[in-house]
């Protein structure tokens, strides 16, 4: 029963805030934040109480004839990890957001959407059967749409929200089709029965590839990642919660939840791994030249998600989950820190306009440093352990090419994160910026500790996961650890070398020489423009064309033809009756002659 309560609490908070926003405007602004945070915090406590127990809760939902679709929530080992991350990081972000959004007029609406999001995310993670998971899946998509276009006055942000929703919908169609294939094959959509059902390899392959396509939509992989960078139009807490910690990992959750099916689809593994690897690499290249803090972090998220799918591709599901957890910590930390920087700089997001914030915002600087070290993969911090585990498994499973690609990406990650770090915090320029209040800094510190200690915590949970965790020779493991640590160090050194104040002329020369490359990277390899040109423009022509020809021309035309046909034939017939008496008599006579002729002829 607590599971239901855990899952529905955020929904209640959302409904409360929603009504409060629509019907009562006057009260104390911060209350909305408090209500949502409390709701999520109680969910967190419930989750930690129920952690790692197998609890199920079910309500009858749709039942027609033989087809039963109850609303089932199931908590088990895997989902409890995700629930803890969602509620834990979520609560921290809620506290942060209460302060961050304090002066915004639509704060109740904001927290209504945020709680709705947490509720749907919990439904997604706890969903016992695929349709319930799908409900959470689309609910989350809806909330990301509502939150991205939260400041809807500026139509750019509204368009970004719509783009995110539509791209997610494309993925969801894949999810739907995958579900139908599975239902047709094994008659039920419950995850338990699916994992134990014997399905023919082809149906499993088709279903898994469709579901994987859905994951690329939701977790921003190669074909459908274009929405995540634009999703930065939303407020920073939204980016932190949705586009860093929780929603984007739902794709990985789906794959790990159905890992039995995905294991069965052998040929899909290499596809998943390569898609993950290539996404990581491409996103990292783009992040190298971004000027907006949030864009850098967005592409870094896409890149880290690439790692996750790389891990899933090579079958290292525990490594993937471990990285999800650590990534949630340090990426949320980085986003929130960036948020407090933006807050301090009154909305300025271009990092070149900042610099030397070390002195102006010491606490943010300190927490950002911890986050930075974690994401670069420096040994004691969490990022190192999880990323190394993924690379290790990629290496041991024989995909050395992908391992190399992973290493290069790790180096690039270290490079662009350090670039961001130096340009915003170090340097002699001292821009004036006021440090954020403690309401925002406290969550930062908590997240900083988590991302620092995350590594140890990770080892504990990865060994308890029931998947096939076989012990590798530790000697090879140590060597690989050393290699990845050096790579990270190399990246950081290179960045320090490049972005030190005195190195300005060298950067200018490189800029001049590889100008075309940097503009290409700045425009994200012109992917958006290409899609627009290749896909959207012709589609718009088609819509217009279809309406004009089929609807207006063919069908209406045909009917108008019928109508005018009737009128025209009427006119023609009218001419036959001229009204001259003698002509009619003549016709009558001729008629009589013919009849007589016929009668007579008939007689003969």
């Amino acid at each position: 029963m607590q599971l239901a309560f855990l899952c529905f609490l955020p929904f209640l908070a959302s409904i409360f805030n929603g009504f409060w926003y629509l019907f009562a405007k006057k009260p104390w602004k911060m209350a909305a934040g408090v209500v949502s945070t409390l709701a999520l915090f109680t969910s967190f406590c419930l989750a930690s109480a129920l952690a790692f127990h197998d609890v199920t809760f079910s309500l009858p939902w749709i039942a027609t004839g033989s087809f039963e679709l109850p609303f089932v929530l199931r908590l088990d080992h895997l989902s409890s990890i995700f629930v803890l991350v969602i509620t834990g990081v979520g609560t921290l972000i809620h506290i942060y957001a209460t302060v961050y959004m304090a002066h915004d007029s639509g704060i109740q609406k904001f927290f209504a959407y945020l709680s709705l999001f947490c509720g749907s995310m919990l439904v997604l993670v706890l969903g016992g059967s695929l349709p319930i998971l799908f409900c959470g899946w689309e609910g989350v998509g809806l909330c990301s749409y509502l939150l991205i276009s939260f400041w809807f006055d500026d139509s750019e942000k509204a368009k970004a929200g719509a783009k995110a929703f539509i791209v997610n919908r494309i993925g969801d169609v894949g999810f739907l089709l995958g579900m139908f294939v599975l239902f047709q094959a094994c008659g039920s959509l419950d995850i338990e029965t699916l994992t134990h059902a014997q399905l023919s390899p082809t149906t499993v392959l088709i279903a898994c590839s469709l579901l994987f396509f859905a994951c690329t939509g939701k977790s921003a992989q190669i074909p459908l990642y274009i929405w995540l960078p634009d999703a930065m139009a939303g407020p920073t807490p939204v980016s932190a919660l949705i586009h860093a910690a929780t929603m984007v990992t739902s794709g990985v959750y789906l794959v790990t939840r159905l890992h039995v099916l995905f294991d069965a689809a052998e040929s899909l593994h290499i596809v998943m791994a390569t898609v993950g690897g290539v996404t990581a690499f491409v996103a990292a290249t783009i992040a190298l030249v971004q000027d907006d803090i949030k864009k850098v972090l967005a592409y870094s998220t896409v890149s880290q998600l690439g790692y996750l799918f790389l891990a899933c591709g090579v079958g290292a599901y525990e490594a993937a989950v471990f990285h999800v957890v650590t990534h949630a910590f340090f990426k949320a930390l980085l986003f929130l820190a960036a948020g407090s920087v933006i807050h301090g700089m009154d909305g300025e997001q271009n990092m070149w306009k900042m610099g030397g914030l070390k002195k102006a915002m010491p606490v943010t600087f300190a927490t950002f440093t911890l986050g930075w070290l974690a994401i670069c993969g420096i040994p004691p911090f969490s990022g190192f352990f999880s990323k190394d585990e993924i690379l290790f498994h990629t290496f041991t499973s024989g995909h050395t090419g992908l391992w190399a690609l992973g290493l290069v990406t790790a180096c690039m990650t270290a490079f662009y994160m350090t670039r961001l770090y130096i340009v915003t915090f170090l340097g002699t320029k001292h821009t004036h910026a006021h440090e954020s209040s403690w309401g925002m800094l406290a969550p930062l510190c908590v997240l900083a500790c988590l991302s620092a200690l995350g590594g140890i915590f990770g080892h504990m949970i990865s060994h308890t996961l029931a998947f096939h965790a076989e012990a590798e020779s530790s000697q090879l493991e140590w060597i690989l650890m050393l290699v990845s640590a050096c790579i990270a160090g190399l990246g950081i050194a290179l960045a320090f070398f490049m972005y030190d104040e005195s190195r300005q002329p060298i950067r200018a020369r490189i800029q001049k020489q590889y100008g075309w490359l940097s503009t290409a990277l700045a425009h994200a390899w012109y992917v958006d423009e290409a899609i627009d040109l290749v896909l959207l423009k012709p589609l718009r022509q088609i819509y217009g064309f279809v309406w004009r020809t089929i609807d207006v021309l063919c069908i209406d035309g045909f009917i108008m033809l019928l109508a005018s046909g009737g009128r025209a034939s009427g006119d023609v017939l009218r001419l036959i009756q001229p009204g001259f008496l003698h002509i009619s008599i003549a016709c009558m006579v001729m008629g009589a002659f013919f009849i007589m002729g016929y009668m007579v002829y008939g007689q003969l």
Partner: protein, 95 residues
């Protein structure tokens, strides 16, 4: 014998209606045709030995009379509005 005469009368009446342009003459040829028909009635009645032919002639005669009355009244009314009895001039029937 009598029937061929009646046939001749009838056809002459027919020619009259078709060729002549004045409505009056057409009415008269109409009367001609009616008489021809009466004649054939009587003739065939005679051949069959029945008197019903003659009874029918009696009825056609009354109808012919009524028809002539109405026809002439029409002609007068027509004449008043169209100032002429020429069929070519009188062609208001279309609209």
């Amino acid at each position: 014998m009598v029937e061929s005469f009646a046939a001749a009368l009838f056809l002459i009446g027919l020619l009259g209606i078709v060729l002549r342009r004045t409505i009056l003459v057409m009415l008269m040829s109409l009367e001609l045709m009616l008489n021809a028909v009466n004649l054939t009635f009587v003739a065939f009645g005679q051949q069959q030995g029945l008197l019903t032919g003659q009874v029918y002639v009696f009825f056609t005669m009354t109808i012919a009379a009524a028809e002539a009355a109405i026809g002439l009244a029409l002609v007068i009314a027509l004449f008043r509005t169209f100032r002429s009895v020429d069929t070519h001039a009188v062609h208001g029937m279309r609209e």
